[in-house]
Amino acid sequence: MNDVAIVDFGLCNLDSIVRAVEQCGGRAKVATEYSQLNGVNSIILPGVGTFGDAMRNLSERGLDQALNEQVISRKIPFLGICLGMQLLAVKGTEQGNNNGLGWIKGAVVKLEKQAPTERTLHIGWNEVHYSQASELFDGISDMTDFYFMHSYHLVCEDKQKVVATTPYCGEFSSAVRLENIFGVQFHPEKSQKAGFQVLRNFLTL
């Protein structure tokens, strides 16, 4: 059985992720403290909330250190969802500058409207265009719609880390990858069939 730690830092749509992981054949274990990340097969960092609060909560619980040990040193497969992907950055700019986990070089900045019809909160279904092949999207056709809800996005310094982009407010990175580390800006747990396929793909890494 695939044990998946769902990192709980007090600000997330925990139940949705847990149920989705279980539907996809994983055994979800909610991790609220350092020791609970030991011995799992993979780790999901979900996220609703704001960048600074999320980092503070992770660090108060010793979870940032545990994540570094498991994901960076032990190379356990990791998936950051929405804010959980943004936290991979070196820096966030939501409500002041805050340091992120710093695994992916780049910063998190606000979406800026490019077309008159665009709204500054990107809420709803939008397509994901692959910029390179990734196991995460196995069996899912290019341009499939996923569900997004965010107003900030991760700008990677190294475009090689960008696995997929989405056309909105210009274009932003909707999926990133660095070795065992994956991040998606959309919510796979709420993206029905395609979203569940992403989770199944992640669980089989």
Partner: protein, 253 residues
């Protein structure tokens, strides 16, 4: 391209789903669980679940009920009714809501929006505005499920909630609610013109043309509807086919 959302709205009152006209004459329309299972199977874009008896009855949100419903809901779920505190929001998100909908509390205390938007992020704070045409012929915000007129202008209120960090506005015309005579396009246009966050038009959909009007003339980013799906043979999927044929980007299902 961002797809236009068609959102069925489920109104819950005491033990089951209801639908009324102009926020009155409520009719029972079945069980919430059954409706959620059907919409889940049909893969609708998003669902709004509003407990309309919570605030008038001075109740907290029914967390156990939401927990049970969310267990069957693998589509985005916005939950409203009785949301008064940051703790309510934290608990709703933790049992499976993706966004929360705040109405009365946002009128009573604008700072509340700021507090919770900072804590949970704007993206999960939907402000619901119920408005009607008042005795002086102008629009007026009404809180507490159509019970308390506020003298507040919905256009000003929309501007204020956006400034405080609201992520989205669910705008319902009480006059059109349940009448199936079309959305209040003028109201929708006026509100969507003054904010840069998405506005969801609600109240009055009786056919797919009404939805098209709310999106094109009204400037709405999404449409919510209830009666049309409860009382007619029309479906969100057919609505999407119609909108697609008329140049509106929708998600293929």
């Amino acid at each position: 391209m961002l797809k236009t959302r068609i959102m069925p709205t489920l109104l819950h009152k005491e033990v089951g789903l209801v639908k009324g006209k102009k926020f009155d004459s409520w009719r029972q329309v079945g069980s919430a669980m059954q409706a959620i299972k059907v919409y889940n199977m049909r893969e609708v874009d998003e669902l709004a679940f509003l407990d309309i008896s919570a605030t008038p009855g001075r109740r907290d949100p029914d967390f156990d009920l939401i927990d049970n419903l969310a267990d069957e809901c693998f589509m985005p779920l916005t939950v409203g009714g009785g949301v008064q505190t940051a703790d309510h929001i934290r608990r709703l998100l933790s049992v499976g809501a993706d966004k929360v909908c705040i109405n009365t509390a946002a009128v009573e205390n604008l700072e509340f929006i700021e507090e919770v938007a900072q804590q949970f992020g704007s993206q999960c704070i939907t402000i619901s505005i119920d408005a009607h045409i008042g005795s002086d012929g102008g629009y007026e915000v009404v809180t507490c499920c159509g019970k308390i007129p506020t003298k507040l202008n919905p256009i000003d209120h929309a501007r204020n909630v956006e400034a405080r960090g609201a992520g989205e506005i669910l705008l319902t015309s009480i006059d059109r609610d349940g009448t199936m005579t079309g959305y209040d396009i003028k109201l929708t246009r006026q509100v969507s013109d003054v904010v840069s966050i998405p506005v969801i038009a609600s109240g009055g959909a009786g056919n797919y043309e009404h939805m098209l009007e709310a999106l094109t003339i009204g400037g709405a980013s999404a449409v919510a509807a209830a009666s049309i799906f409860h009382f007619t043979e029309k479906t969100p999927l057919e609505a999407k086919r119609f909108l697609h044929a008329n140049g509106i980007p929708v998600r293929p299902v």
